[in-house]
Subunit: 191 residues, 2 copies
């Protein structure tokens, strides 16, 4: 039997998540196998089970990181020295940027409908939307209707969902995203 690897090349949760991240983003949950991840890492598939209970456990450890990222993104926005209008614009554009920078996680949160994963992530989208809605309300001094915020959210979601699906990066569609956001802003400030 082949020997255990030396400690300076020991496998870690982070290393597994990194590789799994690339593969999941590239091919989706179903298409990626534990053996593929292990092969990519240069380890045997059994080794992953020492660090993660199972495939779903690995997947959720992975997206937990990116939920933290959304919160960080919202806090980053709060600290910027901008006018309310500029902050609002940055919020909307930031939503698109996040969705297209982490398309797989966006898919899990707002698009994917996988029976196996649904048990874990059910209320996550709702929570995320609540944060978004509160930010929008604050940045418009509560002048905007609830219904309108919801429409704004769906308008952004439509953009991200589409370009997520056809696999475009944020850079590739940045200009379009900006014009999309401008139209939404025009609608917000219109009576």
């Amino acid at each position: 039997m082949a020997p255990r690897k030396a400690v300076d090349q020991e496998l870690s949760r982070e290393a597994i998540i990194d590789v799994a991240h690339q593969l999941f983003v590239d091919q989706g949950f179903q298409a990626v196998s534990m053996r593929m991840i292990a092969r990519e890492l240069g380890y045997s598939h059994g080794a992953i089970y020492y660090h993660f209970k199972n495939k779903a456990d690995l997947f959720y450890a992975m997206i937990e990181q990116d939920f933290a990222m959304i919160n960080k993104e919202l806090k980053r926005l709060d600290k910027l020295e901008l006018s309310q209008e500029e902050k609002l614009k940055e919020l909307l554009l930031g939503y698109i940027r996040f969705g297209l920078t982490y398309p797989n996680h966006y898919e899990v949160m707002f698009i994917m409908n996988d029976k196996e994963l649904q048990h874990y992530a059910t209320n996550a989208p709702e929570q995320s939307y609540q944060q978004f809605a509160q930010a929008v309300a604050a940045l418009t001094n509560q002048q905007i209707e609830i219904k309108k915020i919801w429409s704004v959210f769906l308008m952004l979601h439509g953009f991200v969902a589409h370009y997520c699906r056809i696999g475009h990066s944020f850079q590739e569609v940045e200009e379009l995203a900006m014009s999309h956001v401008d139209m939404i802003l025009g609608m917000i400030y219109m009576d």
Copy 2:
């Protein structure tokens, strides 16, 4: 060996497509196997291969039907006796109505995402969009920018995709749909 079934219950391409459609929409391309489809039909899995070359062939035949359906819907609108503004509103609302009345078809056409089928999943919706865009351009006397039409499409898509996912019918969200459409119309007629 078990006998061949009597002719009055003969398997047909249509019957296979019907069952496959439900399963594909519910669970995605990868998660649905030829054996599952056959089991649901009450036939053995080999029988499907008499009617379709392989799994992808079955999927393509299925999606072709769906796109034919949306084109028919667009032509129906053209014949209505309404003003341009009313037609435009009916077009946008009709898009949502179609998506939520046939959520299975819509999901397969515009939401479902599978690497193995990405070529088809990007080209076919593109054609459908072109028809939609031409209709919008015509109903606004070509006064609307191309970019704006595309944004309108994505705004509608966001609405349909979301309520498709959580399984709401058109009736359940009709009011919200109308206010969503009104916001989009306001944006269209604004400079």
